[in-house]
């Protein structure tokens, strides 16, 4: 059913529909409205679950780790500093193969301090072993959260649903929230085979010596890779239930004769789509919104870029001293293609800087000047830089 809802509110309702049994709540801007809305649902008796108001994100992640280990469907949300504070636990949850869903309301990372949107936080933990799915709009955030439980419980891997902070979480828009029956049909009750149970005791988190560690880590890596199939299947299955087109790994919007492509993650995809229509004198451009970053869908990316002469990767983070993160991975994977497109890598909108419609002609300009090879900050304002020493 359709509602005009703030992104966070929609996410809270969606999480409630997934029937979580344990929620760990710790506030951090811009995720606060999610946990507040969930608290209100619990206070009103509309959501029957154990809501644990913890004392830090480290504990939030630890509480849901314990909850899943003991067989409960669990949820938490965080951003930025919180993601980093819980990072040790994130590696632990993934390595122990505990199915969990978490919302990362993407926000820049201190220092300097910023409360605004970029994707440095989730990028910083890309090696933790989680599945990472990036949502281009709030409807996708709703649909992805539901699919995330399906994927997590099938693959026994934790899923991080990345939703741009403020830009999506605090935007009110018209959204379709599924009803309880639809979600119940799609998500059976959580039945975790490896849960801690006195009737069949197991030990979780043992010390593994060099003679077995490699295989454990490889098995994890393989599982995350193979999760691509679950991601695709979950999208198709949910599409059947809700009747809305779902994007599994990467969403491609082509144009006749396009030889230029722009790939991005998250909410700027919407602005780029509107800009492409608005600046209709620009060269034909194929737009791609990457949804799955982990697993990294190498084959799907190569297919999406087939026939392009130039690909612009526009991301929302960077690795100081190196450059783009997504760009580097995409460039590496495309280099295996015959006639690989030239990859231009930009970051934009760091620390929440607004990404306006005219970014589109500026991208095309950057293509011509080659300022994205190997990497550039497209919206840099050089007069604000400290004087070069």
């Amino acid at each position: 059913m359709q509602y005009a809802l703030e992104g966070s509110q929609a996410l809270a309702r969606t999480v409630a529909l997934c029937r979580p049994q344990v929620i760990a709540a710790y506030p951090i801007t811009p995720q606060t409205h999610i946990v507040e809305n969930l608290s209100k649902l619990v206070a009103d008796g509309a959501l029957n679950c154990e809501l644990v108001s913890v004392e830090s994100e480290f504990s939030a992640a630890s509480v849901v780790l314990g909850a899943v280990a003991a067989g409960a469907r669990a949820y938490t949300a965080s951003s930025s500093q919180g993601i980093l504070l819980m990072s040790e636990v994130l590696f632990n949850i993934a390595g122990l193969r505990l199915p969990l869903v978490m919302t990362c309301a993407n926000r820049a990372v201190s220092g300097p301090l910023s409360i605004w949107n970029d994707q440095q936080d989730s990028m910083a933990v890309r090696d933790a072993g989680w599945i990472q799915l990036y949502c281009a709009n709030n409807q996708e955030a709703v649909d992805t959260t539901i699919q995330a439980y399906h994927i997590a419980e099938q693959t026994e891997l934790p899923v991080m649903v990345c939703v741009d902070g403020f830009t999506l979480t605090h935007t009110l828009e018209v959204l379709d929230i599924p009803d309880q029956q639809q979600v119940d049909r799609f998500l059976p009750p959580f039945n975790f085979e490896r849960r801690l149970d006195p009737s069949s005791p197991i030990s979780i988190g043992t010390l593994v010596a060099p003679d077995y560690f490699t295989e454990a880590r490889y098995d994890h890596h393989r599982a995350v890779n193979d999760a691509q199939q679950s991601i695709v299947a979950a999208a198709a299955a949910w599409e059947d239930v809700c009747g809305r087109r779902q994007n599994p790994l990467i969403c491609v919007s082509d144009r006749q004769g396009a030889r230029i492509g722009i790939m991005t993650l998250g909410s700027i995809a919407g602005t780029l789509a509107a800009a492409r229509d608005h600046y209709n004198n620009a060269p034909a451009t194929r737009l791609m919104a990457l949804r799955s970053f982990r697993p990294f869908p190498a084959e799907a990316i190569r297919q999406a870029c087939a026939g392009l002469t130039d690909l612009v990767v526009m991301e929302r983070a960077l690795s100081p001293g190196s450059g783009g993160i997504v760009g580097a991975e995409v460039r590496a994977t495309l280099s295996e293609m015959n006639d690989a497109p030239r990859v231009h890598n930009f970051t934009v909108g760091l620390g929440g800087r607004d990404v306006p419609m005219d970014i589109y002609p500026r991208i095309h300009e950057g293509l011509r000047t080659g300022s994205g090879i190997p990497f550039g900050v497209l919206d840099l304002e050089p007069d604000k830089l400290p004087a070069a020493g």
């Binding site: 005009a4 605090h170 009110l172 828009e173 509107a274």
Partner: protein, 191 residues
């Protein structure tokens, strides 16, 4: 698509105003989008919010740089240098103020309607919260949406006595401005 920018100070219900306007548009079957521009949230600090209303899905998510209309919830903000930045030619500004609209129009060099919204709200709601009154006046001036849509949006947020008072405020605020003065511009922009 119509784009509106709302200026206010923290504590004046700026963000709620944006959400209400978007919700009202939704009640009329439109697509709508509303979001705040967050600074350090403090009572009294300047806050800006944006609203987009269209009959097609709205894909862009950037800040509104060329609004068709401005709603200014606090006239002390008129001192800010960029308050009318980007206002479209023929655009108009609704200001919460006891001052004369023509005087403000001369100062801002654009069309201005002034409404003593805080005073009206203080009288009807018991609190100087200007947002409902301003939204009602805005709809009356532009003919963008019927008042009933705003009332439906309000009933999603308020109940009982508070809702009843807000209904009365909607009627009183609408009566306080000239109907449809900005209607032509609204249609021009929507095209």
């Amino acid at each position: 698509m119509i784009e509106i920018r709302i200026h206010g100070r923290g504590g004046q219900g700026n963000v709620v105003a944006a959400y209400l306007l978007a919700s009202a548009a939704f009640e009329e079957g439109c697509y709508a989008q509303a979001f705040p521009n967050f600074g350090a949230e403090r009572r009294g600090a300047p806050v800006t919010a944006y609203v987009r209303i269209a009959d097609r899905p709205i894909r862009r998510r950037c800040e509104v740089r060329e609004p068709a209309f401005l709603i200014v919830q606090d006239d002390t903000l008129l001192h800010l240098p960029n308050i009318t930045a980007g206002l479209q030619a023929g655009g108009a500004v609704l200001v919460n103020s006891n001052r004369d609209g023509d005087e403000l129009a001369a100062q801002l060099e654009c069309r201005v309607v002034a409404l003593a919204a805080s005073a009206l709200a203080l009288e009807v709601l018991g609190r100087p919260m200007p947002n409902t009154a301003l939204l009602s006046a805005f709809l009356e001036l532009t003919g963008l949406l019927p008042r009933t849509a705003l009332i439906k949006a309000l009933s999603g947020r308020f109940h009982g006595v508070v809702l009843d008072n807000n209904r009365r405020l909607v009627e009183q605020a609408a009566a306080a401005v000239n109907t449809g003065v900005w209607q032509e511009d609204t249609h021009a922009v929507r095209a």
